[in-house]
Amino acid sequence: MRERLHRWDEAIARCEKALVAVMLSLMIVLALLQVLLRNAFATGISWGDPLVRNLVLWVGFIGATMATKEGKHINLDVVSRWIGEGRLWLVRALVHFLSVGICAILAYAALLFVANEARSGAVTFLDVPMWVPELVIPVTFGLMTLRFGLAFLEALALRGSSESPDRRPGVA
C-alpha cells in the first residue's frame, strides 16, 4: 500500500518539477519582454502582468508542496536533537499528525474561497475566470495533506525499528 502511494507521489513530483521549470522560465521571459517593450517602444502586453502574478502564485504553492515532500519546510527542530532515537518516531508522528489536520482545514478553507470567487464572476488575464488559476490553492493544500499523511505513516512504521529517520538541517 505504502509502496504504491510512494510511486504516485514520485510521479506527481516529476510533474511538479516540470511545471515549475516551465512556469519560472515563462515568468522570466514575460517579465523581460515587458521591460523591453516598455523602454524601447513605450508599450506592453496588457495581460502580461496579471499572468506573471498568477505564475508566482502557482510556483509559490507548488514550491510549498515540494517542500512538504522533501521535509524542507522551515521549522525549529530544537527539542528533537535531545530526544533519544527510540522516541523520535513518536515526535515525528505527533508533528505530522498536526500538519495533516491543519492542511486539511486549509484545503477546505481554500475550496470555500474558490467557490466564493466563482460566484463573484471576476475575470483575470485574457478573460480567464479568476477562480481557475486560484484552483492551485486547494489542490496544493490537498497534496500537502496527503504528503504529511504519508510522512505520518512512515513515522508510525519506524516504531520499534532501530533505524532512525534522517535529520535534515533546516534552511534559513
Partner: protein, 420 residues
C-alpha cells in the same frame, strides 16, 4: 483560557519541529473559528499576498542566487577579492567578510553563504595560518552578513509586510551594511596582527587576471542597482533582468552550468521560495486577524504606560528582536513581528524605514546567537564541528555586531541619509 491552551500546544509542537507555517496557520484558523469568521478569510490573505506585484522579485532573485551559487562565481569572487585585498594585514579575513556580504546580498540570507563559500574560505584561512576558532567564528557570523545590502530577500519581505517602499529600504541598508563590514574588518585586522599571520604581496598580474575572469559578474550590482535608481525599471523588473543576465553569463557565455541542470536548480530554488511564501501567507492571515482584534493597539497602550522614552523602547525592542531572531528564525520573525511592532514603533516616532533596518540588523545578529541561531547549526553541519565549539568561536564577533547594532539603532542618519 482555551486560547492559552491552544497556544501552549502549538508552541510545544513548534519546538518539536512542526513546520512554522502549520503552527501559524493553526493559530490563525483557531482564532478565526472562535470569532466566528469564515475560514476562507485566511485564504483571501494568502492569495492577496501571493499576487502582490512586488512579490515577483522573490522567485526571480532567489533563482538567480541559486544559479550563481552553483556556478564558478563564488570561486571567482574569492579570487578577485584576494587579488585586491590579500596584501592588507588580515587580508584573508577581510576577503571572507566582503565575499560573504556580497554573496548574502545576492542569495538572500537563506543559508547558502556558509554552504557555498564556507568550504572555500575555511581551508584558505587555515592555510593562511589563522587559528581555527577565529576562522569558524568569522565564517559563521558572516552567514547573514550582507543582509542589509540590496537586493537581499529579507529587505524585500520587510518592505512587503511593513508596506514601505522597497527602493527606499534598499538605499537605507547600504551605510549600516558598510558599518557592519568595516567594524568586523577592523577587528579582524587587529586579530590578524596579533596572531602574526603572514602577509601576501600585491601582484598586478594576478589582479588583472582575476578582473578578467570575473569581468562578466562585476557589472551585476550595477544591473541590479543602476536600473532601479536611474528610474528605468521597477524592483520586480530588475529581478527579471538579473535572472536573465545570470542565465546568459553562467549558462550561455561561461558554460559553468549546462541547460540540463537548470530544471533541478529551478526546483531547488522554488522549494525554498514556496517554504518562505507559505509562511508569509500564513503570517499575514494571522496578523490580519490580530490587527482587526486591535492587538497592536493593546501592545502599544501596555508599553506606553510603562516606557516613556523612545530610547528605552528601542533597548527593549532590540533585546526582544535578538531573541526572536535567535529562536524563531529570520523569515517567521519578520512576518509575524513586523505587523505587530510597526504601529507601536511609529507611536514612538521611529521612522518606518529606520525601523526596518533595526529589525533586519537584529535578525541578522540573532541568527548567530547561541543557543538556537540558525547560522550555528548550518556551520556545524558544513564544517563538521560540534555546535558548542561554534558557540564559543562566535562570541567575540557577536560582541562587535552588537556594538554595530547600538550605532545603527541610535544614529538614524545612517539609515536615512540617502533618502532625502
Amino acid at each position: 483560557m482555551s486560547t492559552l491552551l491552544v497556544c501552549a500546544i502549538l508552541l510545544v509542537l513548534m519546538l518539536l519541529g512542526a513546520p512554522i507555517f502549520v503552527v501559524i496557520s493553526g493559530l490563525a484558523l483557531y482564532l478565526l473559528a472562535s470569532a466566528q469568521i469564515d475560514l476562507s478569510a485566511m485564504i483571501i490573505e494568502m492569495h492577496r499576498m501571493a499576487t502582490t506585484p512586488i512579490l515577483v522579485a522573490i522567485p526571480l532573485f532567489t533563482f538567480a542566487g541559486y544559479v550563481l551559487s552553483e556556478s564558478g562565481a563564488p570561486m571567482r569572487l574569492v579570487r578577485l577579492s584576494d587579488a585586491f585585498l590579500g596584501w592588507l594585514p588580515g587580508g584573508l579575513s577581510i576577503i571572507a567578510l566582503v565575499t560573504c556580504a556580497a554573496f548574502t546580498a545576492l542569495t538572500g540570507a537563506t543559508g547558502l553563504t556558509i554552504i557555498a563559500l564556507g568550504g572555500i574560505l575555511l581551508p584558505a584561512m587555515s592555510r593562511g595560518r589563522y587559528p581555527e576558532m577565529f576562522s569558524m567564528g568569522l565564517l559563521t557570523t558572516s552567514g547573514t552578513l550582507g543582509l542589509l545590502f540590496p537586493p537581499s530577500l529579507p529587505l524585500i519581505i520587510y518592505a512587503i509586510v511593513a508596506k514601505v517602499r522597497v527602493d527606499q529600504l534598499f538605499l537605507a541598508g547600504i551605510l549600516p551594511g558598510i558599518v557592519l563590514v568595516m567594524l568586523l574588518s577592523a577587528f579582524s585586522v587587529q586579530r590578524a596582527v596579533h596572531f602574526q599571520v603572514p602577509r601576501a604581496r600585491f601582484r598586478a598580474g594576478e589582479a588583472v587576471a582575476a578582473l578578467k575572469e570575473a569581468a562578466w559578474e562585476i557589472p551585476l550590482p550595477l544591473v541590479v542597482l543602476g536600473g532601479i535608481y536611474s528610474g528605468r525599471f521597477a524592483v520586480s523588473e530588475a529581478a527579471a533582468i538579473t535572472a536573465a543576465y545570470v542565465l546568459l553569463v553562467e549558462v550561455v557565455i561561461l558554460k559553468d552550468i549546462g541547460w540540463r541542470e537548470l530544471p533541478e536548480i529551478m526546483r531547488k530554488s522554488m522549494v525554498l521560495v514556496g517554504g518562505i511564501l507559505i509562511i508569509l501567507g500564513a503570517a499575514l492571515g494571522l496578523t490580519n486577524y490580530l490587527v482587526d482584534a486591535e492587538v497592536p493597539m493593546n501592545v502599544l497602550s501596555f508599553l506606553k504606560a510603562r516606557i516613556a522614552s523612545p530610547v528605552l523602547f528601542l533597548v527593549v525592542l532590540n533585546l526582544f528582536l535578538l531573541a526572536a531572531g535567535c529562536t524563531m528564525g529570520m523569515f517567521s520573525a519578520l512576518t509575524v513581528m513586523v505587523p505587530l511592532m510597526a504601529p507601536v514603533a511609529q507611536a514612538y516616532d521611529i521612522h518606518p524605514v529606520h525601523l526596518g533596518i533595526i529589525f533586519l540588523t537584529n535578525l541578522e545578529i540573532g541568527a548567530s546567537i547561541p543557543p538556537l541561531g540558525i547560522n550555528l547549526f548550518i556551520s556545524s553541519i558544513r564544517f563538521e564541528r560540534p555546535v558548542l565549539r561554534l558557540y564559543v568561536a562566535c562570541l567575540p564577533f557577536i560582541a562587535i555586531l552588537l556594538l554595530c547594532l547600538v550605532i545603527i539603532t541610535y544614529w538614524p542618519w545612517l539609515s536615512l541619509a540617502f533618502l532625502k
